[in-house]
Symmetry: C2
Subunit: 523 residues, 2 copies
Amino acid sequence: MSAAVIHNGPGPSLAASTVSTDIDHTLLARRLGINTYQEPVVYLHKSSHICKSEGFEAHSRIELSCRQRRVIATLNIVSSDIVAQSEAGLSEAAWLALDLQEGDLIHMAHPRPLESFSMVRAKIYGRRISDEGFAAIVRDVIDGNYSDIEIASFITACTGHLDVEEIIALTRAMVDAGDRLDWGHRPVLDKHCIGGLPGNRTTLLVVPIVAACGLMIPKTSSRAITSPAGTADTMETLAPVNLAITDIRRVVEQEGGCIVWGGAVSLSPADDILIRVERPMDLDSEGQLVASVLSKKIAAGSTHVVIDIPVGPTAKVRRIEGAHTLGGLLTAVGAALGLKVHTMITDGSQPVGRGIGPALEAWDVLAVLRNERGAPADLRQRALDLAAAILELGQKAAPGEGMGMARAALDSGAAWTKFAAICAAQGGLREPPRAAYHHVVGAPFAGRVIAIDNRRLARIAKLAGAPQALAAGVLFHAPLGSRVDVGQPLYTIHAQSPGELAYARSYAMSQQDVITLQNGIQP
Amino acid sequence: MSAAVIHNGPGPSLAASTVSTDIDHTLLARRLGINTYQEPVVYLHKSSHICKSEGFEAHSRIELSCRQRRVIATLNIVSSDIVAQSEAGLSEAAWLALDLQEGDLIHMAHPRPLESFSMVRAKIYGRRISDEGFAAIVRDVIDGNYSDIEIASFITACTGHLDVEEIIALTRAMVDAGDRLDWGHRPVLDKHCIGGLPGNRTTLLVVPIVAACGLMIPKTSSRAITSPAGTADTMETLAPVNLAITDIRRVVEQEGGCIVWGGAVSLSPADDILIRVERPMDLDSEGQLVASVLSKKIAAGSTHVVIDIPVGPTAKVRRIEGAHTLGGLLTAVGAALGLKVHTMITDGSQPVGRGIGPALEAWDVLAVLRNERGAPADLRQRALDLAAAILELGQKAAPGEGMGMARAALDSGAAWTKFAAICAAQGGLREPPRAAYHHVVGAPFAGRVIAIDNRRLARIAKLAGAPQALAAGVLFHAPLGSRVDVGQPLYTIHAQSPGELAYARSYAMSQQDVITLQNGIQP
């Protein structure tokens, strides 16, 4: 007696081929121009024969393919005429992932089961995810096999429940899944700031100081996502930042440093996908923050990195204990992956410098580089602190001598010369724009500034047009602890159009607590 | 000295009103006919002034309002002409939630912060959610304040991490957030089957048996979501099921029972929303399953319920231990909420009856009710087991006497008379349709049936057109353990069109293991 598995039909010969020849699974691709925030979505008409024959329904996951490319998309069923029965409408993410042209035909199929999600399920029930597990999950995330719902579930399952070994495994998986730069040189220095502090544009000072002192520091920066300016946005008001990898190499070989937009190189692509789902949930996931930051640095080819952790009531990290834990984790995970990490806990209670917005921040940077009178001292000091730490970490300066070396580079004009040379190599130094419209917000009574809401100042700058309007933002006049007379300017809103100025101004007036004054007897 | 919070402007009088008068936040509503599977989505053109002035970007959450209604939608930004600059395109879910007409103007604003999500975050970090916490979360979910990503996070955080008190709190919150029926009568009986078994259409037998014996059993059933037929779909081939609540009351008062679609009454609306996100994740969340099932029963006004838990390798519950745990949880949570629960663990190793698909299952039911020769004995026996348990639970029959009473009701024709009367009261008994196209799948060799894949049989039925094509599906001839000769029919595919028949047939032939035969010497 023997057990036999059988095909339920006249014979196995007719099997798979019959399915693919009987039924037409191909539709005409149609670009709908819908930005679904990177989730690939396919829009099929409700009377499409593929919906019916394949049993696809709203929210089904469908594998789309064209030529050698494939992507898994979420189905939205359409009952209007925005797509025809013979068409497959595609969101921007799906269109770009398949690299389609008008007139292309795309093939549709049921995706294979998402096997790596079984490890997410296991994590939900409290088990650990292995190194191979993270590799498989990250690979599937990058390949677009996870829906936003599945990514949200993965992030939730990991939040607060990753041990150090798991964070190391996640970081390694994220590095391995993308490109990795090799500068053929050691050490390669880098810096990073754990966000949340408007105007904290030290990168544009640290890079030229460090490079002027002879260390290699190829800096890839991001554009603003939720903030009024990213480092790349600010740098772009001074020089081109959208460089191809060959041009980045040329700049770094020539000048020892660069400040370019990281989007042109595919470093830790999983990070970008996870962050997009993580951000709206506002989960304070230390493990993912560490994996996110370090995977980008390692992929960028850095060997030594100084990480600035500003702490303050409206900064990203709000308590000093949290900063210590995070610092310890960053150092330990970095060490396991061959990256030397030095963390600095800094004051995150108020904006740094005066400007908030791309051009306004650039003007602050220029004032410090050129040693102008009235240049923002806080920005200068923070940049020197970071540069000193980097010079010591990179063993260019002996312990305790980094600050002297950094200050000399800045004061002598060597850093400014280096910055101008980097800008020239990147395509030419240019003058940041200035805004035509201003509104000064004055103190309603005399007093001392006792609190500043970074988040609301950032929001005012965004409403004024930053970062799209490069010259827009907020110029901040009254640091924490300063005394102001009645009517004295607290901050100035800058805008490129009267409408944007009016809007930012209206919002500012409707908000309490942007700047809190304490009145009292003059000393 | 005193601390004072100040408005940053000429004075508070200009505050909020300025924002709302300066900027036009109103756009013309446009129905795009996109079914996003219930998530409200708003489609704004990238050059819309609201995107710019409010800082909305793809995936922003936006509060839409029109007249007294409001809903929070996820933003998709559009760069094509499917919406104009002055328009707000709406998904079907958003359009229906706002009850819009063509030409309506909708107002857009930033939603208030989602405070209840802080309790989800706390849960993620291992803390318990309080009774009030679940109430707030469920209220926000029903109000459409949670995005799919946030719902996925809530479900993930709860999966495997709810204690009995939390499951009770979640169930109560789900009941309290919807309508609740009151029959002015005790006991009110009910039955439920933890899904996963094709053809298990016992409800259509149990209700008339129990009602014929004099107990009240007002049954609200669901339509198919992923299966080839829901109880409401099968019942609809015999009588109308889409009854308003007043009609349901009339039927139940007159006949003591009904079998209607539950969609017409808003019982546990949170359940429908959670299930839609939960299903694609395929998480085996006992706590949510219990809350889902019991909240619907309690909201339906039931006081006593018998729950059938089929166990089998391709059923929803795969192991007997799992069924016991689930049964214990259902009983404990039910007791805490005043619902008497009796669970029955049954055989889930193969389909019940012969038909899979609305009309084919209805013919099975009719054969049992009319005591026809050759009526499926397994379906009859399951229905009698459940009816007996219900009669005893409702104290209509003494312990041990339920089976005799149930059998008498069925054998005497009383159950058939009652069923016909219920159908008449619901709008008229009708004959289920029959399919015009058939394909018989025969045994490739003589042998004994040793395994049946419920899931793949269900898939073949769906590909043949079920449940939309009421007469389509699979008629199953060879139960587990039966001997078949070569060529003897294993199952017949029924379809209403040649195309659907061909498609289901192609799929059937491409699959291994639908039915596994063991060949051997005849006894």
